[in-house]
Symmetry: C2
């Protein structure tokens, strides 16, 4: 039954991510005997992660082979699957750029991920290396921005690419908990673009859930919010999400309930407005919520470092062998072992969702098996969603990608001019100059200056 | 040679417009013998206009028959051509709505034409009447907003529709004057959507004009603007137009140089910024420029009223019989008498301009003859223009038309939320409520309240 793969993980130094992946691999018997090549530029984090991965598989008596390398080219040699989870420069670089942009008058910075340059550049480099070194491999784009990234990669290369995000499922779990439904009996469709997806169909034991939601809103939501003490990631049943439902006619799912697409400025004007919409801490993306998220990552990392330092610690106790619910390993299994399953994927549209251009990455349900990834043909989203959320997102992405591809900074200036918080032409020009001349952004500046 | 038509003019009470039209008709020998039915709700203005029209044709000894009616249905009976030049409620209604919106914090109101409701409603009623009464007639949509109007009419009816605007030609004349070129030897293409068109090709005696323009900008523009005392309509060679050229890579033509599309907010923040970009009076659309435009209309009207009151006045002296340069009569002649010519028209795209949706009205060059209007297949506009001007205009138009068609005010709220000057969700909601409850807007309010 088992048919091993060779899997390269780019940016494997994130121990949480890699160990989660290894756990799922250990539990997938049909992938037994596989080789995982962990690649990262940070040798120390890479060594720790690799050691933990070996121990974890060893504790479970699973036959997986691990290799580590700081060379992307080496990692890709012979790979059948590549996961790109890298964040160029890490959270530190991202936070530095956000702080700079915030100092220019943009509360909590720009979406998505500030200039985007280093991520676009890295994503494209990885994809181009795959094209050259292991052209038949599947690329699973896991780090953000998935939407821009999958669009860019599928325009510029011929690599088989899928973007995966855990966003939608957490949202469904939260709805189930609040409405008192059994998660296993919910089915849904939530097409759109990554982080901007909408529940077009939502069923529980064959019945539409929307009337239940409407009743909850009418009868219980106010009371619920009065006693609400949400964790940073509890945004699905927030006043923001329910307001978006009223405004757009469909409930936004998962990360979409964070309203982190660029144009939903009216929820995100300052901490005060974020508190109104996402509770006392202002949700995932306020300075409070985001710090909790970063702290959460740091704590997890500390626990893993402690375990790594103690050869007697049982990793399987710290990190019990249960499948994570992430789609990465199951989709590899489906593709590699021809085990048909259905998934929520980010792929080049090519007609999957009606009225979205072919060459834009969409998030959509797909049947996956040995034939590949086949998205379900999905009807046009309602006009309130298309005109108020999807099209604005497409324009933002296009301006950002055009700036990157053409090296013409006027596209980035245009992106800033259409940012609701920009106060004048000079404000946009000064912000652009500040980003381009930020210490650490020298390569980005050179990229734009190298325009023919 | 002559093949008369029956032409209905809706909104004919505008004496300037109607007399201009009659003059061109008098000069078109191939349309001799035609009947012009002038229709307006204002009986007095209609009577004056009709009398002037008869006198003008009489002075020239031309055989044209004039009828007048306050009934649209009567006007349309047997018509082969219909010109809709009506402005619902007139400038007075438009100014009242603009003043209200300005009091809500939107300097100089919203574009285009505030709520748009009454114009959309009237345009569609006219088109539906044509469908019923004279289904083979050509509708020439002459009043604004031409872009929204032609899009709406061609989506909702099967009427043969063309929108005409004099905008582009005045712009070319102004460029010719400033650069010292002979207007007759200029050829150009300026595709886009009405009031947002861009010189993709611009030739003088077979040579590209752009290098001449670049030289003028580098060597003469500063000096030109220092001594510049523009009239309200002199916007083509303004600092705004040249800045747009730098920002978008193409020169905006005619009305496009007024930057009156909704999203060019950075030129239009207040009178101060308008003065910076369009000279001492702030251009066509400042409170000063627009008042001059309205005064200009009033003065013209006074001169005509004086002439009308004096049966001995020679109208042909006041209004010499020279062709106006407007496209209306020539295009009627081309369609009716199969005299092939080329025109700049606003028609349903249907693939004419690459990458603009089929069901959006575009402004494009077309060959016109007895076969109808055949637009030239036009390449995709550059991305700087598509992403920075055309697509934002499409989204604005779609939100406004969706509000009108679905009666769902959330589309209008969305339009306001995406207006750069909107300060908060409440600001958008309050502005929407103010517009809907403005005295005089009762029918609009009822339209939205009648939503099923």
């Amino acid at each position: 039954m088992s048919k091993p793969i060779r899997l390269a993980v780019i940016g494997a130094g994130s121990a949480q991510f890699s160990l989660g992946l290894v756990r799922d691999l250990c539990l997938a018997d049909s992938l037994a005997g596989s080789t995982v090549v962990l690649m990262d530029l940070d040798e120390q984090r890479l060594a720790t992660t690799t050691a933990l991965a070996r121990r974890y598989a060893g504790e479970l008596g699973k036959h997986l082979t691990f290799a580590k390398t700081t060379s992307r080219e080496t990692a890709l040699e012979g790979a059948g699957f590549v996961i790109n989870t890298a964040l160029a420069g890490g959270h530190r670089r991202e936070e530095a750029e956000r702080a700079l942009v915030q100092s220019c008058g943009y509360y909590r910075g720009l979406y998505p991920s500030e200039s985007g340059f280093y991520q676009y550049d890295l994503m494209l480099q990885v994809a181009r290396d795959i094209e050259r070194i292991c052209p038949d491999a599947w690329l699973i784009q896991s780090s953000n921005p998935v939407y821009d990234g999958v669009t860019l990669i599928t325009r510029e290369t011929r690599v088989k690419t899928v973007g995966l995000c855990h966003g939608p499922f957490g949202g469904i779990r939260e709805i189930a908990k609040v409405l008192g439904l059994d998660y296993e009996e919910i089915t849904f469709e939530a097409p759109g673009v990554n982080h901007c997806v909408w529940l077009t169909s939502f069923r529980y034991r064959g019945e539409d859930v929307y009337p239940l939601l409407d009743r909850w809103i009418a009868e219980q939501s106010e009371d619920y919010w009065r006693h609400w003490t949400p964790k940073f990631h509890d945004t699905q049943m927030s006043p923001a999400a329910i307001h978006m439902y009223k405004l757009f006619g469909l409930l936004p799912l998962g990360d979409a309930s964070r309203a982190i697409w660029t144009d939903a400025w009216w929820y995100n004007q300052d901490l005060e407005s974020k508190r109104r919409w996402w509770g006392p801490e202002g949700g995932f993306d306020s300075e409070i919520g985001w710090q909790r998220y970063l702290d959460h990552l740091t704590e997890d990392l500390k626990a893993l470092a402690t375990a790594a330092a103690d050869p007697k610690a049982k990793l399987t106790e710290l990190f019990p062998p249960r499948t994570s619910g992430e789609q990465i390993v199951p989709i590899i299994d489906a593709l590699h072992n021809d085990r048909r399953g259905n998934f929520i994927v980010n792929v080049r549209n090519d007609g999957a969702i009606d009225s979205i251009p072919d060459n834009v990455a969409v998030e959509v349900r797909a049947v996956v098996d040995g034939r590949g990834i086949r998205p379900l043909r999905t009807p046009r989203l309602p006009d309130l969603v298309m005109l108020g959320a999807i099209w604005p997102q497409i324009l933002v992405m296009e301006r950002r990608l055009a700036a990157f591809k053409t090296r013409d900074p006027r596209f980035f200036l245009q992106y800033l001019l259409f940012e609701h918080r920009t106060r004048s032409l000079e404000h946009a020009e000064e912000t652009l100059a500040a980003i381009l001349h930020m210490p650490g952004n020298e390569r980005m500046l050179a990229h734009f200056e190298a325009r023919a």
